[in-house]
């Protein structure tokens, strides 16, 4: 069976333009969705700790809706059902990339809020107390003291989220976004060389995740606060409980 694997066809697929642009598109979608999810998730995390009952209820409702329904369904809903609900979205400006971006970032934000909240809570309350005693306002304490320390703790789980999200971008193939999986499907059905076409896609995914893993370890060092830590990795950061969501 392996004998029929044609390396030439494989290399051809690997270096073809649709694969490159597809991989780039998947990466772009992952990055912008992750960034948006971090911002939305941050406010959701603050909202969960809010004194207002109404704010907490809204956050709960949000997380409930986006975690209880399949990501694929959310994607399809936003692309097909949203324009029917709101005619504004029926315009030609509403591109498939935008729909995927909205669906993935809203979905991811629900998970990200849990991670960010756990990160913020893991910072010693004495840090905030010291900031207040100095006369700093709460937003300044968050910005200068708490967020930098929380970031160190949430980098590893955010790395996981990046990987999850990268794989989730393949779902956008069902709303005909020309990402990596679509590119390999097109090639596979056109040439009937399934093994080569899909192997090439696997290589791209592996490559992207590998680069991410290197970047992540660099970033972890950057957020370790001892002069030695910048050269050598610290033993362990306090762990944030993992949110299990592999079945998304």
């Amino acid at each position: 069976m392996l004998a029929s694997f044609d390396t030439h066809i494989f290399w051809e697929a690997l270096s073809s333009k649709p694969y490159r642009t597809g991989a780039l598109l998947a990466l772009e979608l992952t990055l912008v969705s992750l960034a948006a999810a971090c911002v939305i998730g941050f406010f959701l995390a603050l909202g969960r700790g809010s004194r207002s009952r109404a704010v907490r209820a809204i956050v709960f409702l949000y997380n409930w809706i986006f975690r209880a329904t399949p990501t694929l369904l959310q994607l399809i809903f936003i692309w097909y059902a949203l324009p029917q609900l709101w005619p504004v979205f029926a315009g030609s400006w509403f591109k498939v990339f935008l729909a995927a971006f909205i669906a993935l970032s809203l979905n991811e934000a629900a998970y990200m809020s849990e991670i960010i909240r756990a990160g913020l809570l893991s910072v010693d309350p004495g840090q905030e107390l010291a900031g207040r005693a100095l006369g700093m306002t709460r937003p300044r304490i968050l910005l200068r003291v708490i967020i930098p320390q929380a970031v160190r703790i949430i980098i590893p789980p955010i790395g996981n989220e990046f990987i999850t999200l990268l794989k989730l971008t393949s779902l956008a193939s069902v709303i005909s976004l020309h990402e990596l999986l679509t590119a390999s499907q097109v090639r596979a059905t056109a040439t009937f060389r399934y093994q080569e076409a899909y192997s090439a896609a696997i290589v791209y995914y592996l490559a992207i995740v590998s680069v991410l893993m290197i970047l992540q370890s660099q970033l972890e060092k950057r957020f370790t606060w001892s002069s030695a830590g910048r050269r050598r990795r610290r033993v362990a950061a306090p762990a944030v409980p993992a949110v299990s969501h592999d079945a998304r």
Partner: protein, 245 residues
């Protein structure tokens, strides 16, 4: 009008129905050092937090230079907090900043000083606690005694009207206590107004203007060190001193 720098008047404070402070009054004159002792749960730390304006009081008031501050809304309170320096038992240095950045932080974030000016002043104060050479170290790399001295510099650099110390040496190894007490004694000599919660009785004896005994949310006794130790008037004080010594 009084000549007190820092004053508490009939302060009451409860947490979840539990009354921690039951009418505490206290006057700290300029350059005075008040040492507060008492069993755990007697309300010493809570009193200090109220004096530092970190906790709202239920009734009574906290006055700084005769200005009634404890009633102010949170927004105005933040600025006033920097007029009182607070040193914590567990140092609470910002873990993500070097010693220098810790000391600069209040100057830059609260006093809005230019970075260069803040750095110069911060170095000057690190020098004062003998840690100029540790300026670029992170808290994690410093000993407990060194961390506490940086914390003192961080509070001091704001030029507070009074300094509050909440058991500043009780989280330290025995051999590191001295270096912190030395810094505090130096401050007292320089005329800093201080309130110190501490069970370092020898320090109290040599530095305090007066010593206060707290029990069950009240100040039950206040006296000059000599009187306090030689002939405490309260039975509770006698029992407590016997246990501490």
């Amino acid at each position: 009008m009084t000549d007190a720098v820092l004053r508490a008047e009939g302060v009451h404070k409860s947490y979840d129905g539990l009354e921690v402070l039951r009418g505490v009054s206290l006057e700290v004159g300029r350059g005075e050092v008040k040492v507060i002792i008492g069993p755990s749960g007697s309300g010493k730390s809570t009193l200090l937090r109220c004096l530092a304006l970190l906790e709202p009081v239920d009734s009574g008031g906290v006055f700084l230079d005769d200005a009634h501050l404890s009633g102010l809304p949170e927004k105005q309170l933040a600025a006033h907090r920097s007029e009182v320096g607070m040193v914590f038992q567990r140092f609470n240095l910002f873990q993500n900043m070097t010693a220098l950045a810790n000391v600069m932080c209040g100057l830059v974030e609260v006093r809005r000083l230019k970075k260069r000016e803040a750095r110069e002043r911060a170095l000057e104060f690190l020098d004062r606690v003998g840690l100029r050479d540790k300026a670029n170290q992170y808290p994690e790399e410093l000993s407990g005694g060194q961390q506490q001295r940086v914390a003192i510099a961080r509070a001091l650099v704001m030029r507070p009207k009074a300094m509050l110390f909440d058991e500043p040496t009780s989280a330290l190894d025995v051999e590191l206590v001295r270096e912190v007490l030395d810094v505090m004694e130096g401050l007292a000599r320089d005329g800093m107004t201080m309130v110190v919660v501490s069970h370092e009785l020898r320090f109290a004896h040599s530095v305090a203007s007066s010593i206060l005994m707290m029990d069950e949310g009240r100040v039950i006794e206040e006296a000059a060190p000599d009187t306090f130790f030689s002939s405490p008037s309260h039975e509770r004080t006698r029992r407590f001193l016997a246990l501490v010594e």
